[in-house]
Symmetry: D2
């Protein structure tokens, strides 16, 4: 039985970790860390866990925690883990970090986009970017630190990855228009996240400056074999969960000027995802919808070719709290400990 600790257990991603781990047959939670609710019963903060979790919330003493568990999930603000991580801690426990602290290899890029100094850059190189479908081979029992990808990032990358990797699109033309449910904004008490402010409205935000941009660019750059610069525009949607991305890129034409056929693109998707448990390439003509993945670890992807403009429109949908956060974190934990990758993650999407 893997012993797990969660720092940030009363945020939305932390709460989802609890929900998922409660159904995991090989893991148990020993530490519900929450600075805001220390000594309160977890099940009285998240009343859905009333009687299911009897523990009280503890602090975020990573050092102490490292001695008690096998794996720590940090669902914490940017900079938190980087500020306290030490070699001693890492030598005693595996960490799956849901923040952005170790996702970006170039510390200057991190510091520019996040506007904070990175306090422990010495661990960046070691950290594995935990996008399981792509980096699976590097997430093993020897891995100590996993940088769990961002929600927008996971969806954006997986949606375009096959066509980028196989050179079927011009990566310089890639535009990612993303839409997210409101749980992605976190559980902080802020006016813009109040019910009446979000409900019955949609808006873009972070236009040309959202922090998930360099993460997308770095990973797609690896796939393309060259630097990739994208436009990434997130939008806030009046719903609890779900991310949908709509991505646009120009298809590379053949020598005779023709576009690649639908079958060729589909084959690229199948090569990437044909064996994947959690990526579903939908049937031709079916657009991903967030309702069909809600509560599950699935990513649904598909594409449409527009012959008129020579572009391909790629679409992807996932649950930002599951595959976009806690689910992928558990998937990473499973890889770290040699468990079946889908353990604890087999719940079907819940509709409606």
């Amino acid at each position: 039985m893997i012993k797990a600790g969660i720092i940030g257990a009363t945020g939305y991603a932390g709460g989802e970790l609890v929900r998922i781990l409660l159904g995991h047959r090989e893991a148990e939670i020993l530490w519900y860390g929450s600075r805001s609710y220390i000594d309160q019963k977890y099940g009285s903060v998240y009343q859905n866990m009333f009687r299911l979790v009897e523990d009280v919330c503890k602090d975020d003493n990573l050092k102490e925690l490292a001695g008690q568990v096998d794996v720590i999930f940090t669902a914490t603000p940017q900079g938190f883990l980087a500020g306290i991580l030490t070699e001693e801690i890492l030598s005693r426990v595996k960490i799956v970090d849901l923040s952005a602290d170790y996702r970006i290899k170039d510390v200057a890029v991190y510091e520019k986009w996040y506007g904070i100094e990175h306090k422990s850059p010495q661990f960046i190189e070691e950290a594995v970017y935990g996008l399981c479908e792509i980096n699976r081979d590097r997430i093993t029992d020897g891995t100590r630190l996993v940088a769990n990808p961002g929600c927008y990032t996971t969806c954006s990358i997986l949606t375009a990855y096959p066509l980028v990797r196989e050179g079927l699109i011009d990566p310089g033309t890639l535009i990612v228009d993303a839409k997210s449910g409101t749980s992605g904004a976190g559980r902080g008490a802020k006016v813009p996240n109040l019910y009446c402010e979000v409900n019955e409205s949609i808006k873009a935000y972070g236009v040309a400056g959202h922090r998930h941009t360099p993460e997308i660019e770095e990973q797609l750059g690896y796939a393309a074999g060259c630097p990739v610069t994208v436009n990434f525009t997130p939008h806030l949607v009046p719903m609890n969960r779900g991310i949908l991305v709509t991505e646009y890129a120009s298809l590379k034409r053949k020598k005779d000027g023709s576009l690649p056929a639908w079958e060729e693109l589909r084959a690229a998707y199948d090569r990437c995802y044909g064996q994947e448990r959690f990526v579903r390439v939908l049937d031709r003509g079916v657009c991903p919808e967030t309702r069909w993945v809600e509560g599950s670890n699935y990513v649904d992807v598909n594409f449409v070719i527009d012959e008129r403009t020579g572009r391909v429109i790629m679409m992807g949908a996932l649950d930002n709290l599951v595959k976009g956060a806690a689910g992928q974190a558990v998937q990473n934990m499973n890889l770290l400990f040699g468990l079946p990758e889908e353990e604890g993650l087999t719940m079907p999407p819940c509709f409606p």
Copy 2:
């Protein structure tokens, strides 16, 4: 492995049966019945089940189905099962009926409230009302026909049951004000259920005439040991899932005119539900909220005494598609086949 068939698999309750049974370790679905979608892949109608369910939808031939499975769930319109049920069918298969056809013992009452003739009243007596927490002992491997309770009914009865049974309230004063999410209205294409008609609004409907009224009255009458007549008013709430009931009744005063103490009422709840897996009596002062039970088989109940009016306000919350329909149906199936009652139903509530 129990073989199960579902008639009405593409309604919301039917879809939820599929979701739950996919996680059940002792049951498998062999028949996805749906008149509207015959020969279409189930996973293309309910796209959340894409790649999880490869079967195509079949018709509603109960007779044929009876020869192939151990249990049939009928999530069908009122009158459907009553119109085709035969002794031959019942001799070959167990049936859990999610419609109202066999819930009410007095056929005249059924015919009056539902406005249709009952075509097979000979099976009413035999049918067991499948409110597991109350009728558990009568749902056994000898039972052939279970009348799965209505969603409003389950919530309304369980919320008031302890106080009615122990004679702590005057049942003649009982008023049930109920609020339901929109999935309770079904998946039929009707203007009043369109997004823009339901969203941003609340209304009462079926005032003084809703069909769940006699079902509540009959069951609470058994508990009270005398006929009970209630006001039951359902309301439509702009959310997908969830039922909340707020119930009002006058407390029976003691000989000295005083009201019973909070502890006495609490003890009554504990006597009924102290050992129950799926009924959670909340801590004092905590009101049930539908978000805390969503996606799960839990019913959360609690009460407040109003000293000024001498009334008790009882509250209960459940997920209308789980404990209010499919979850309870599976709970009944587990009882019918001698399985642990919670098998397939242990998923925690999903928030947000």
Copy 3:
């Protein structure tokens, strides 16, 4: 042209006052008071007013304001106005107070339910309870202080008023089950009002202790001619605007034991509201729905007799920000200044 000042102009009720007064032909706003946003452009806080309102937000200096305007609307927290109101201010300006400070005649009742000391009880007697349909005659150019009724209160009182006043129901049996949109909770940044906490859920709150209870009881007591004690239970509904009340009471039986006829009750409603511009008694069998009054000053009311229980179920719907707050405040202003009562309030409900 009436000069108006608003204290609390950036709350939801304050914002609605702005929206309504911008369409009022006889009033103009000279002072947008908002402690939180002093010196910021009002149209940058409420971006809907961008380019429609060029003023910046000012403080809440009531004394200074009193010298500049004819009427002040105070859309402020409980206790604010009571804490600063003076005879000097009242001698110079009329005040329509949207808080509860002067609604309740018995200062002990106010202090008990609100948990704060009343700092200027000397003005309570003078204040007129501004429920226009009932107290119209007392709101005149001689009135200096109007206590604008609460949102729940307006809806609860107007729905039951005809039957209470005419003695057709037993007021001791009155139960008010109320449901409100989330704007009623205000614009404060609190976790329970975040989008993801409210969305997809319904709950009761303030059970047996909500502050609007004594206000309802006092006013219905005047109508009944005797003290009235009620159960009032508010619920939070995932929608922006709207209040629906469902009220239950036992009908007084005639000497022969029979219930009053529908026509008798309807006649009572017509006597009260037949000439009212803003109260619509719906056709028989039509239940009020909040969507039909959204954005308008209307209250829709109706009732159903339940012969089985001898009770009448009364229902009422209004927009909590209009008739439940800002609209009624403007209606009061119109009365105070001898304008047509509907001036500025003729916008039809907006659907969907």
Copy 4:
């Protein structure tokens, strides 16, 4: 007083026409046409209009109607007006058509995208495309037939128009990612528009094939002075009203390779919209949000330059039922009859 008739008065756009025209000082509605509800009181179908509209619904006899009114609004399915319009009708009455029948000058393009034969192409040339801000000069008392623009189209065109017209972007790179509330899907009883199907989800639809594409292309082509081909992708958002468009295009670089400055783009917007009553160019850094225009005839637009990619991200928001349908139709009526363009359209946006 202008006499107006509405065909399709019980659709959402028709209902909005009624709401707006009730507040119009120079127009009155004489004919509420609705095939589905003939002889029913309009105020019983749209209960918000109870007591405000006493008329009953009539049929869609355009010929008869033409003799009774000055202007007819046709809020009808594609092909309806084209199928019955005659010279005789047009010689007697002005028509503002909210369908697409006369929006596209090239009948072959219309027939290809709409998949129906155009029955009266002889009127296409005469019809004026009623995008008031652009075609104002051509909508006069001599105009007989106005093709009221589509909702997506209005928003998409107005958002990009200044930069297209002034040649600041490369129109061949234009991508329009649009998001709409559900009222845009109409009031037809279809499963995909049910509350539970739309709520808590977002999806793209009509990818690479939506009918508003050629309308956008035609109008932007006029502005650019050359053919324009765009990617247009609509999305369905769980809210009642509102359209947001996010548009991407490459900025034309100067001879020295530099991008145009923000001030230059802003000046282009100001030249187009500086005098416009209903187009608000927001302050730098403020993104349009649909909540800020709800219920009003405003379009909010803004843009952000992404120096990294050399693209400009343009954003626009409007209420699809007002500026996207009924409001613009009334704006056109005002122009047709020489009234102030804003008459009946001055209601501020309603928030929340």
